[in-house]
């Protein structure tokens, strides 16, 4: 792999950029691989990268139905954080945050990690207490978090509604300084380039149509580009997990739901943080391009259509303007939807399965993007060692039988209610 740097950029500029290498190859699938990762999204690419990098397993293929990075890694609102209440999530995502800090250098690809602070606004004393609890949980785990009060917030986002007409006034916020954003496409491409360089075959336009299982053991996959042998398969297809599981006669504690997001037209820097609105489900940050990136609720019914309807966007924006009255005058440029694997306790599943050689990485709900590095790392570990990593041990599938659930929101199994 030719290293990217300012020098390579200058050198190539002098030859009018005619000599850049491909970022990743476009190989034909081989007959057999040691490990096959299904799904060329962020988690799949990262898993393959860490299999090769940390476990020296390089005879790996990533099979992608369409184009890599086309699923949720390219459709999310790019928020990174580890401000969870339960240790299982807290420690897992925090390991991810540590990885984000070095990821550009690790991959020699600028993923534009931007630790710009995330503020979870509270609109009542009860909510302040709930955020104290979360912040305390983080601090006891060694993660920086602070409680801010109304006057602090006024200084940070003076254009929020501090008027007497505000329906749910701002009381304060929980702040995680390391919380922020990263450039989503770059994450997919950086891992793809890194994995490819280590010998991983990234095979696009290759749909998995079936599995070869014999005596409860994985033998291979059937694809639109022929059958491929392997003993180990990592299923990394959040949004389509149930569909592939169905081919293995597996049902999962997962529902597919569409989550929409939208961006405004680009404006000069206005908002320097990631902000969530506590009297609704609105979150917002400003992209490096100047667009306000906004998201909120699920549309609220099972869906595999990567499109939602306007009332949800209306709902999200209503919350946005309740928080920032000046947003009313901006214009929505683009809306889009992604399919969420909504698990029944809002936490992910990274585990082995009852089929020997089949590993599962799914159930990410709205939170998969920030987990990309740590999900890849722990899933690679699970596949390579055939046992869960300490960090993903709480995310086993059997928790739906043992009762060791990790339900941050306490809403139970109606996953569409947020």
């Amino acid at each position: 792999m030719k290293k990217y740097s300012v020098f390579s950029l200058i050198k190539n500029a002098l030859s009018h950029h005619q000599n850049w290498d491909v970022a990743w190859r476009d190989p034909e699938p081989k007959k057999e691989y040691e490990v096959i990762i299904i799904g060329g999204g962020g988690h799949g690419l990262a898993t393959a990268y860490y299999l090769a990098k940390n476990f020296n397993i390089r005879n790996v293929a990533i099979l992608e139905k369409g184009w890599i990075g086309g699923g949720n890694v390219g459709r999310n609102t790019t928020i990174l954080r580890s401000n969870y209440m339960y240790n299982a999530n807290n420690l897992f995502y925090e390991e991810g945050m540590k990885m984000w800090r070095n990821l550009s250098q690790e991959l020699n690809y600028n993923v534009m990690y931007s630790p710009r602070n995330i503020l979870n606004l509270a609109h009542s004393d009860a909510q302040m207490n709930a955020y104290s609890r979360r912040g305390n949980s983080m601090r006891l785990n060694g993660i920086d978090a602070q409680l801010l009060y109304r006057e602090d917030i006024k200084k940070i986002i003076p254009f929020a509604d501090f008027s007497s007409n505000c329906r749910f006034p701002i009381f304060g916020a929980l702040r995680q300084p390391a919380g922020g954003t990263a450039r989503h496409d770059a994450v997919a491409w950086g891992y793809a380039r890194g994995a490819d360089d280590l010998g991983v075959d990234i095979i696009q336009n290759c749909e998995v149509t079936g599995f070869d299982v014999n005596n409860g053991k994985i033998q291979g996959v059937q694809t639109s580009r022929g059958n491929i042998k392997t003993k180990k398969i990592g299923l990394c297809v959040a949004g389509s997990t149930s569909l592939l599981a169905e081919k293995l006669n597996m049902t999962l504690p997962i529902e597919a739901h569409v989550l929409q997001a939208c961006v405004s037209e680009p404006i000069k820097p206005l908002l320097d943080q990631v902000v969530t609105f506590g009297a609704g489900h609105f979150y917002c940050s400003q992209s490096d391009k100047g667009e306000m990136v906004m998201g909120g609720d699920l549309d609220g019914y099972n869906s595999y259509a990567q499109r939602g309807n306007l009332p949800t966007i209306q709902h999200v924006l209503t919350e946005g303007v309740a928080l920032f009255p000046n947003l009313s005058r901006l214009k929505i440029l683009r809306t889009w939807g992604g399919i969420m694997d909504m698990s029944m306790d809002t936490s992910p599943i990274i585990d082995k399965t009852h089929i020997d050689g089949l590993y599962l990485n799914c159930g990410w709900c709205y939170g998969g993007f920030k987990a990309t590095p740590v999900s890849g790392l722990t899933f690679a570990h699970t596949i390579a060692k055939d046992e869960v990593h300490e960090l993903n041990a709480p995310f086993r599938l059997d928790r739906f039988h043992t009762g060791h659930l990790i339900d941050e929101k306490g809403i139970g199994t109606k996953t569409w209610i947020s």
């Binding site: 389509s240 049902t251 869906s303 595999y304």
Partner: protein, 92 residues
């Protein structure tokens, strides 16, 4: 916004309704021994097809009746809606 035909009230916009999820989930009978697996399947495991899905809706800002809908999860098309007592078999 979906347009949903409440079997009792007729076509209304989606904002009058609340979603109720997989309608094929069947609660085990009361006071009956139920194996762990059957119970956990009832509580947590869901049909999640791409295509026709049999699901519950609740006309929450209307007649407050729950009813069933057969809806395509890939296109959002509602094939039909049914009263709870209608036996409509498999969704697909």
């Amino acid at each position: 916004m979906l347009e949903i035909k409440c079997p009792y009230c007729g076509k209304r916009s989606q904002n009058e309704f609340a979603y109720g999820g997989d309608a094929t989930v069947k609660r085990p009978e009361l006071n009956k021994e139920v194996p762990d697996e059957e119970w956990d399947t009832f509580v947590y495991y869901r049909k999640n097809p791409r295509g026709n899905h049999l699901e519950l809706w609740h006309h929450i800002s209307g007649c407050r009746q729950w009813f069933k809908a057969k809806r395509n999860t890939a296109t959002h098309e509602i094939i039909d809606t049914f009263e709870l007592s209608d036996d409509i078999g498999d969704a697909s």
